[in-house]
Subunit: 598 residues, 2 copies
């Protein structure tokens, strides 16, 4: 699989289409507002935007007019013609466009890309002309506007944006649009957008009462309700079970350490800004743990001298780590300050890297499969030619070969990213697509040649000499919090039965059926199910509707008939109505669905 080419977005046809549609949109806007000053218009994920300085704020009606005019321009099949020009000529062309003149000055000084990042070599100055519109642009574009499918283009919304993202600069108007190759792709994208809104984990989290954030506790520090805690607990218990079965051992190292440890491990210098402020008492400072590795290495050391016969030593821990993310970057459970990693550190000899990496792959595949992630790719980040990497060519080569070979054996889809490795070793990241096709970075495995030596980890080899173990850092679901956000959206809150905080709601039709409901509940609880009784005096249909809203897998209705026949009437959250069955039959049906991960 290693030969499979990973296509970069910037080299794709979609990128060209979106870049071209941005020009078409700018032409339509400038035609409508001849005094418009236009700035930059790059493709972005799923679309493009263009920023303008305009005489008045745009209305939704303006967008409609612009979109109409764009279709006319597109139908003209205007060629995109590139011309490399001297700076003087460019200045003449854009003499009425102050933002373009500013960009030109930047280009002459060395240039930057459309996102404002400096370029590696001084660029040529090129313009692209299509129809009556000229833009300062590096391209690439489609051949002519006829290559744009007008049925696959849509303007989305208007937003304010400071010139170059700097609030000291003028506020511009940004028009966002999307463009695809086919109308059905556009339709799917719009459906997914709508669906993503419905599935937003912050919204579902509230509807299902899973977690809350409180001003009194602090930003990014979630509180989990009984239902949210059960979900956390099942998620972590499941990974714990898989890890234990595969020979990982769990340890406990708490939530704080002396700051000095992070100075020795190197994290203080590289990671200080992401740590919570220190707790200082006289000349000792403590820090909340932003990662487990120094603590696991300390425990490894405290346990005494290790022998090669003990290796690999695999320390796993579900530890809540604290990272001081900027408040502006916090977002629901996706980006929090309290994050519980399903972290593992494997101490091994160099020749065990391949075997341990393969074991990690196996655990990750099993877990992601259980959560119904079928579509994922592994990015294998390798050493590049630049010099930031630990200098030990033979060691790097051996490790990279071991990883490659394990990936080949695993049958996983992977691609190599040269130059993307950390300085301390190669790594593999799992990029998984959810049901909406959104890509999430989940699992990670990193080989570490450096930190174990910094913290003095050793083992006595078969040769009787002291060696430094290699450490593999590994996370399966990443963090409980972020992964919970992802699976809430993956399942739209309708968790598989094994994960559902409440698996069955018992619905007695009238108060006289409560005793029977309690008896059934006891049987189901003894059978390992999480059940609750809806003992409110509401009508049956209202109770069913509520349970469906709560995405509870099974509703068991019981009235006189059911009591007489010692049955329960089963309904499902999707509206299906399997009807009456004995409690035992229901229990075996549920147990089967739980075992199958449905």
């Amino acid at each position: 699989m290693a030969e499979k080419k990973h296509i970069d977005y910037k080299e794709s046809n979609l990128y060209c289409i979106r870049h071209s549609v941005a020009h078409v949109m700018a032409q339509a806007v400038v035609e409508m507002f001849p005094e418009a000053k236009y700035t930059i218009g790059p493709p972005v994920e799923n679309g493009f935007y263009y920023d303008f300085e305009l005489p008045h704020p745009l209305s939704p009606e303006d967008l409609q007019k612009i979109e109409k005019r764009m279709r006319e321009i597109i139908s003209g099949k205007h060629a995109f013609i590139k011309k490399v020009v001297p700076a003087d000529e460019a200045r003449r062309i854009f003499k009425d466009q102050p933002y373009k003149l500013e960009l030109l000055t930047g280009l002459e000084a060395g240039g930057s890309d459309e996102y404002g990042n400096p370029l590696e070599e001084k660029p040529e100055i090129s313009i692209y002309t299509s129809d009556n519109f000229v833009d300062l642009c590096r391209g690439p574009h489609v051949e002519h506007t006829g290559k744009i499918n007008p049925e696959a283009v849509k303007l989305m919304n208007i937003a304010g944006a400071y010139w170059r993202g700097d609030e000291k600069n003028p506020m511009l108007q940004r028009i966002y649009g999307t463009a695809w190759e086919t109308a059905s792709q556009l339709e799917e994208y719009l459906w997914k957008l709508e669906e993503a809104k419905k599935r937003d984990h912050r919204r579902i989290g509230k509807e299902l009462k899973l977690f809350y954030f409180s001003e009194d506790i602090g930003p990014g520090l979630p509180l989990f309700t009984p239902k949210g805690e059960i979900l956390r607990y099942i998620m972590e218990s499941y990974v714990r079970e898989v890890q234990t079965r595969h020979g990982f051992q769990h340890v406990w190292t708490g939530h704080m350490v002396k700051e000095d440890l992070y100075r020795r491990s190197g994290h203080y210098d590289n990671y200080k800004d992401s740590m919570f402020p220190p707790m200082v008492d006289g000349n000792v400072a403590y820090r909340l743990k932003p990662m487990n590795c120094p603590s696991h290495m300390t425990l490894y050391n405290e346990m005494g001298q290790h022998s090669y016969r003990e290796l690999p030593v695999r320390f796993a821990e579900f530890a809540t780590l604290y990272r001081y993310e900027k408040t502006g970057e916090l977002s629901g459970l996706t980006r929090v300050r309290a994050l519980t990693q399903d972290d593992c550190h494997t101490f091994c000899a160099e020749e065990q890297i391949g075997q341990e990496f393969a074991l990690d792959l196996q655990v990750i595949q099993e877990v992601l499969g259980r959560y119904q992630f079928k579509d994922y790719t592994v990015r294998l980040s390798l050493r590049g030619s630049a010099g930031k990497y630990v200098k030990d060519d033979a060691r790097w080569s051996r490790a990279e070969a071991a990883l490659r070979s394990a990936l080949d054996d695993s049958g996983l889809d992977y691609y190599e990213a040269k130059g993307e490795a950390a300085f301390y070793g190669p790594k593999a990241d799992f990029m998984a697509r959810d049901v909406l096709g959104r890509e999430w970075q989940l699992s990670t495995i990193q080989v570490d040649f450096i930190q174990p030596a910094r913290l003095g980890c050793t083992y006595i080899g078969e040769d009787g000499a002291e060696h430094t173990p290699v450490v593999l850092h590994r996370a399966v679901t990443g963090t409980t919090e972020r992964f919970m956000a992802i699976i809430i959206e993956q399942f739209a809150g309708a968790f598989p039965v094994w994960l559902a905080p409440v698996q069955a709601t018992l619905i007695p039709i009238a108060d006289r059926h409560l005793t029977y409901a309690a008896e059934v509940a006891d049987v189901l609880k003894a059978g390992g199910l999480r059940v609750e009784i809806d003992d409110r005096s509401d009508r049956m249909n209202a109770k069913i509707r509520d349970a469906q809203k709560q995405k509870i897998p099974y509703m068991l209705v019981m009235g006189d008939k059911e009591i007489e026949s010692k049955q329960v009437a089963l309904r499902l959250r999707n509206g299906d109505n399997p009807g009456p069955m004995s409690v035992e039959d229901f229990l075996s049906r549920a147990s089967k669905e739980i075992a199958e991960g449905l």
Copy 2:
């Protein structure tokens, strides 16, 4: 049971005996060193001491001589004669004893008890004379030295002690002794002392590799190895299971909050010194949680308006709390800075106090029983006559009556301690004796009339009006860390099978038996057992010895004979040798012992 009288140590015969022996010892010391200045000599737990200023440091031989002379004095049947004297006369009697003169000054100024605590009313000045020894003393004493059993007295050791515990004062020599009613009591005490040393959890923790403390992490912050973590995990899973079965719900509230929350809850003022230093960023300060209650109340509030129909709401959490204990007070796992409470807060209506208190009692009884604590007493702390208590007589009376009635129903042994309640409500503490007879305060249940109102917790009552719930604070084992220390000592590391980190060690006699051992291990693991294979090339007897040292309940030896008969040869950690049996028979024996809590 409420009528059962709890006998205060200070009112006991043992207290009189020890106090009297202290005088006898002082007489012997003063006879031996006429220049001795004697200070105070109180009874303490299990014995007594007396502090002296002496011309030279005492040797162990001196102790023997003192003990010999004490036996002579005891045999003289000297009466202890009390006399109340004017201060002048006392000053004359103790004119050569500067410490006594200092004590006299204190007595005249209002007095303090033998521990230095101020007395409530100005005391009379009394002296006790026995034989040729006179002491400034409030008594009480035995009638005469003949009431002391010389076979039940022993001097223990010598230690340095500053006068009045203040390091600016002279260093004195303290002689510790012990005294009992009978020789067999003394013998039992000495055995328990010896046994307690052997059972010291710090020692066993190292032998069994359960936990470590590291200078790199910080004092009082334990690291748990895989075996220690398994123990923690089983302990917490067990309590979680009991709590879930009894209708408690688990929540998750992390490890830190904004400091302001503790200002509002009242903890900042009362508890500041026990908190870790703040994490300060600009004008916001965060604190590690030293308790869960404000977080649980915040979650209760965030979940929206509650109705009386939802009550009781029972929030349980195994949260690691951080308390900044003084480094000098830290001791193994008994006193740590990272403590994981099995905490619960029950929000209920006032009329539910009795029922919820009874439920808590039930959970605690079940759990303590499982850990083989049979001998415990409940101290019910009630309001006193003094004014620190919340002023709501009727409410207090109703709550106290509800608690008393629940305790009566429970059949538990309890006694009432008037004036010992917290200002916010009555409470019950479980005082349990371990196998060595040492008393530990374990579980606690506290009624809280105050904090819920401070943090704005409410519910809508049946009357449609807003009410403040009462909160019951409850811990079952207290904290995982301290309780682990206690059970390590309770079981001397030989945990019941259900708790043992490794339940069975498989001992293949030679390398050719390893495959069979691996097969057996798979069967046992599938049966839910925690097993390990001792695959070292050591001799069988050495492996058995090691497993016994590790207090592993079952050793399964397997050689040619066992493979042929598809059996395992069972040995137990106590040396018993049940011999060969089928794997299935062993598994059902183990499962039975686990279920029985053995």
